[in-house]
Amino acid sequence: MTHLERSKHQQYPFHMVMPSPWPLMVSLALLSLTMSLALTMHGYIGNMNLVYLALFVLTCSACFWFRDIIAEATYLGNHTIAVRKGINTGFLLFVLSEVLIFAGLFWVYFHSAMSPDVTLGAVWPPVGIEAIKPTELPLLNTIILLSSGATITYSHHALINKDRSKALSGLLITFWLIVIFVSCQWIEYTNATFTIADGVYGSVFYTGTGLHFLHMVMLIVMLGICYWRMRNYHLTSDHHVGYETTVIYAHVLDVIWLFLYIIFYWWATV
């Protein structure tokens, strides 16, 4: 091979990314989202317009960024095994940070529950708070989430065994199960006898389960994108990083829900 010819080939397995506006756009959108949320929550801004604007910019930038990534992965072939490994590691670090956020929220819960203040009646749940019964809607939610874990595993099994229709149907069922979960959670929140403003119990309860709720909403989006990509033949039996990360995300959120259910709903109140 002459030097001239060698210079036409890439000698390494990595993906040298092109200059892109999306990282900067996403950073700015996230900054304005954080700022506007904090200022709105503390009453410095009287309306939600800035929050909606930041959310809109964030959604648009993320969509364009992911469009670029899908093009690089699916059509340009930039995602070699080494690149995929890097993306998976990056996603696992993200999941680890999520787990640590929830560990922090569990810490908050334990901190507040283990020595309730006299103003709460020195009991947990506080006097006057009627905790949500764990054997009603939350149990149904847990079963729905467990079923979604089973169907996503079924879909993953079908995908790696090259069974397109089963992989698609498993993914679709999972998508709708998560939609049902989120709806049930919404019903639970709107019918609860306490709000996020009702003392420390309301705060820690809605922060813990509410953050999980937001993650579930995100999971719906991720599953929808996976379904759309699978239908459009973007995924193959051994190259489906987006799908794999979604599956891991779903499983980790399921396990976090198990802990939330045991601690927040069941053992802390009964």
């Binding site: 995929r84 283990m114 309730p116 149990l139 874990g149 891991i248 399921d254 009964v270």
Partner: protein, 164 residues
């Protein structure tokens, strides 16, 4: 003397009155399968994630199955455990009913305590009377002895005068 019954007497006897940490500890000891199952479920997810990272999809699929199975088992242990040990039955009773039961229990305790005190007071009175009686007896015997002593003294006097 026994203590005055108070609202704090019943704490710790009922699940509702236990502190948060005691309740968690109690549940973990009563249903050890639940925390063990939760930890094993997390371990399955960690192993699956590791295999996904290393590109080993079949192994990951295997651990995903373990994850779902273990979580199902944990859930069954949780629900079955609480049905067996009846902690849900307690919560099914209305708050009002529970409060009424507790009030009745406290009332009974109060009555028992008052009876105990009454008995103690009676016993003390009895003891005081007994000791009073005993003192009277003692006083009488002392008087007798004094009389005897005087008699003896007068006898000694008369005998010594006779000698003279």
């Amino acid at each position: 003397m026994s203590q005055i019954p108070s609202s704090f007497d019943l704490s710790g006897t009922e699940l509702e009155d236990k502190t948060f940490w005691e309740r968690i500890k109690y549940h973990c000891q009563q249903q050890p399968f639940v925390p063990v199952g939760a930890i094993l479920t997390s371990a399955a997810v960690v192993l699956a994630a590791q295999n996904i990272k290393n590109g080993n999809q079949r192994r990951a699929q295997y651990y995903f199955r373990w994850r779902v199975g273990l979580q199902g088992a944990t859930l069954i242990a949780l629900v079955a455990g609480s049905f067996i040990y009846g902690s849900t039955k307690i919560s099914e009773k209305s708050q009002q009913e529970q409060l009424r039961e507790k009030a009745k229990l406290r009332e009974d305790l109060w009555i028992k305590e008052l009876e105990r005190r009454d008995a103690a007071v009676k016993e003390r009175k009895q003891r005081a009377e007994d000791s009073k009686k005993r003192t009277q007896e003692n006083e009488a015997s002392i008087k007798n002895l004094e009389k005897e002593l005087k008699d003896l003294e007068s006898k000694v006097k008369t005998s010594s005068e006779e000698k003279k």
